[in-house]
Symmetry: C2
Subunit: 342 residues, 2 copies
DNA sequence: GGGGTGGATGTTAGCGCTAACAATGTTGCT
DNA sequence: AGCAACATTGTTAGCGCTAACATCCACCCC
């Protein structure tokens, strides 16, 4: 009788079929307590019979909640960002939120702000911004935040909730590992200067050297890509001075390994190399790369957790200090590092 | 005067400030033709003054269009899927659509159908499903499709619009390249049997061998990961029979290179190796890997293009044959392949 | 000059849902 | 019995927007 043709069923259709008011249907759908079990069952079966599905726009219109989280991500070509995004996605879904993603090519303040604007059109409830550069984080803090924002990989953002991997600790760990193997000092192929991850790793590396009283060579900046690691690796091979190199990511480490190999420098016999990220490939580099692993999924999970907290304690008017969550890094020892030759 | 406190402005606020009806505001927002330039300007400036932003839920409720496309993706750890997703995202945004993404861990029919169900809650207008396995594509075709679906990497889906890279052509290209270098035959480290990409590459490889009258060895199946390439590479090294190996992706090729290297088999002097995907790292493998490049961004673009066509010609009731778009693959020659030794 | 024409604007009625309140029935207690 | 307290259901009024229709006015043509 009441099977509607040509349009999808609405709450009133279900109500009619179940012989109740549409409000009762709404109550069943929202798990309201005061509905008789028998009524609830009748409504449920009417819903199934009609294949009814609640209209999310109508619901959002009246509840003022869309259940959508906006994500601004960068360059998912790289392993880390891609993994982080995936972690965010799973955590969000587990909590019943939807994700609307914008991926940016360029990491600038303007691009981020434009992306957030775009997402605002869709009435996202809050944002997760993967903010690997200082300028971006600062830009975020400036924005008149109508909606909560969580920065991921945002270093030490001044007044923004942040989740990040302990880059400093990771850099320290890597350097310490090489010093412990007896190397006099450790050279560093760093990431681009304006990246927070690069900064943190440099700081950790420097601290480890200073603590050990080791000389601190100038860090050599690459651009994260294998080619730049290759170029700098070739340079180091020519200088024949370094015995241990900490490379700020595995892709550059790959390039460096190749350059050293071509120059006849054997790894780890002549030079030890350690990377950062633990990409799936690094175990199979020549030689298998010792590196520092980051738990990206955990970062994603914590980011979503933090944002949802913010979303759901909207009552919390007291400007508590923004949360900050640091995920530890872990040393993964393989073949590319060895004791310094005496 | 009419600056509302405590709530964000609505159309009526803008209307009041501009001294027009809310409908005129709506007309300006929707680019309706019959609005006097002077009125339009007044409305525009009222919008800016109030920082007004149209409520997307209310709009969607009445227009029955959400502007959201649902994407079901897999395992964005891998380069290809991640790139494809990024291509989809850019294309969608360029056309003013939003993306809601679900990434799956397991590629099963059930998982896909559950993901689509989840997305349906959000009233997506259509779906893009990255469907790399036969079972998934078949499951999709079965579904009572209330909304348009485009399969990406879906091989030869029977009655579904599909965009994919020419896997067959790529496999053929790779094999042909090795045969042209004088190899008697080409061994194949394939992907898992139930993956369409693996199937297509096997078929292309087989065809090239058959055309050349070369013997067709059994393909050896890996799981796409470096480790499986390593295992199979070690096996090939031990048998000492293969002089040319076509590996179904770069990650497995990396493992194979490593296994061959460890077994003292020199690449390309003793054995030529060719990969598939052209991941950013492959240029820096030892030796730099000859491979087959896929234009993932183009795949994403075409996928979105196809879906939007479907969405916007909803009038088109005639069941035209589903579109099918094949993106060519490209040979990238580096160092890992060389003429067969006489 | 009268009536048609079309541009510019306003008015009204929903879209499908939830929240608030109203109206029942049902139980327990004095 | 009588009334309070509560469980259960229904009724009504929007949420903020767009589509459809109504209105007004300027202009043109015979």
């Amino acid at each position: 009788m009441s099977v509607p043709v040509g349009r999808s069923p609405v709450m009133a259709d279900v109500a009619r079929l179940a012989g109740v008011s549409h409000q009762t249907v709404s109550r069943v759908l929202n798990g309201h307590p005061n509905v008789r079990a028998e009524t609830q069952a009748r409504v449920q079966s009417a819903i199934e019979e009609l294949g009814y599905r609640r209209n999310s726009s109508a619901r959002a219109l009246v509840t003022r909640r869309t259940g959508v989280i906006g994500v601004v991500a960068f360059d998912t070509t790289h392993y880390g960002p891609a993994q982080t995004l995936s972690g965010i996605e799973h955590a969000a879904r587990a909590d019943g939120y939807f994700l609307s993603v914008v991926t940016l090519q360029t990491v600038t303040r303007e691009a981020v702000s434009e992306a957030m604007d775009y997402l605002a059109q869709q009435s996202v409830e809050g944002y997760i911004v993967i903010a690997p550069k200082r300028a971006v984080v600062e830009g975020l803090a400036d924005q008149p935040a109508e909606r909560p924002v969580v920065a991921v990989e945002g270093g030490e953002a001044p007044d923004l909730p942040v989740v990040c991997v302990d880059q400093f600790g990771g850099g320290y760990l890597a350097t310490r590992h090489l010093l412990d193997l007896g190397h006099r000092t450790v050279h560093h192929i760093a990431g681009p200067g304006d990246w927070l991850e690069a900064e943190g790793r440099i700081a950790g590396w420097r601290r480890a050297l200073e603590e050990a009283g080791a000389p601190v060579p100038d860090p050599l900046h690459g651009d994260w890509r294998p080619r730049s690691g290759y170029r700098i690796g070739a340079q180091l091979a020519e200088e024949r001075e370094a015995t241990a190199v900490f490379v700020a990511n595995d892709q550059m480490a790959l390039g460096a390994l190749r350059a050293l190999g071509e120059a006849g420098v054997r790894v780890p016999d002549h030079v030890s190399v350690i990377g950062f990220d633990d990409i799936p490939e690094s175990e199979f580099f020549t030689p298998p790369l010792t590196t520092v692993a980051q738990d990206f999924s955990e970062v994603g999970r914590r980011g979503i957790g933090l944002l949802i907290d913010l979303l759901e304690d909207a009552t919390d008017t007291a400007p508590t200090t923004p949360a900050r969550s640091v995920v530890p890094a872990r040393l993964v020892t393989r073949v590319s590092t060895a004791p310094a030759c005496a």
